[in-house]
Subunit: 168 residues, 2 copies
């Protein structure tokens, strides 16, 4: 199978959401077993001015749905960012995966030179779709998955690299 | 420009090494300004059974040179893993980037179905090159770059997401 804009985005995100979901399932079980209030983990962060675990997961979702939608040339779904439990984070992951799975390869393949505009508080960031995917969306996606993992490891959850990578 | 196995690997790694190098330059300056023994940061980790900053940077290098070499079908360069200072980590990054820049697109493009074998302590992991790149090498690469960033943020270094992403 040849690499393509679709292959390098949607299935990569979907696969990683499976790993992230399994990690969050372990985190919820750990909170239960250790009688840790789930909120303690959901609000945990690695530095006072870094984002909490809940926000990390929301941004993983935002990065993936934004990338899939922009590459396909469809509107980015808006979610409310009101998740307050592990179950609600799992539901957001499921909703994001369902959106991604609804995108078809023919909407995304060949999108390399499409213009992509990312809203920011200031000037929007302007990209062509190929550097957007490779140098912005994928690094951002993995940043927030890894930070979620790191917050949980730092808080004592017994997970390892294979939980992050999934079965090869 | 069309996405290809080369475009999705070598220039992505090289670009990210520029960002990582700039982050480590800031870390060294921070240690100097705050009179922190550099070893404190180089040995820092997010959990007692996670790897130190030095090992994270070494593995970023290993992941990138291993991926570039395997996709190109050449031997993976062996480094000694004896870096003990920020300058030595910078030298390792420079050496890795020089190796990657020596790989030519025509060695890597079209490698999607090539067999890739990754030595482990047990059975080697067997992949085709496309899933190896997308589901193993890139996630692993970003995992260790992000963990390097997270260790430094957790230890008070004033960096933000744009240091990680670089200028778009």
């Amino acid at each position: 199978m040849a690499i393509s804009m679709y292959q390098a985005s949607v299935p990569v995100f979907v696969r990683m959401f499976g790993n992230l979901s399994a990690i969050l399932t372990k985190a919820a079980a750990y909170a239960e077993a250790k009688k840790i209030e789930p909120r303690v983990l959901l609000d945990a962060r690695l530095a006072p001015d870094m984002l909490s675990l809940t926000r990390q997961v929301q941004i993983v979702s935002d990065t993936a749905k934004g990338c899939g939608a922009r590459l396909a040339g469809v509107d980015v779904p808006k979610y409310e960012d009101n998740e307050a439990s592990f179950d609600e984070l799992q539901a957001r992951i499921a909703k994001t995966v369902a959106f991604l799975n609804g995108l078809r390869p023919e909407q995304i393949d060949g999108s390399e030179d499409r213009d992509v505009s990312i809203p920011t508080r200031g000037q929007p960031l302007q990209f062509k779709a190929l550097p957007y995917l490779l140098n912005f969306a994928l690094p951002n996606f993995y940043f927030h998955v890894t930070t979620t993992y790191a917050i949980l490891r730092h808080n004592g959850l017994d997970i390892g690299k294979m939980d992050y990578l999934g079965q090869p």
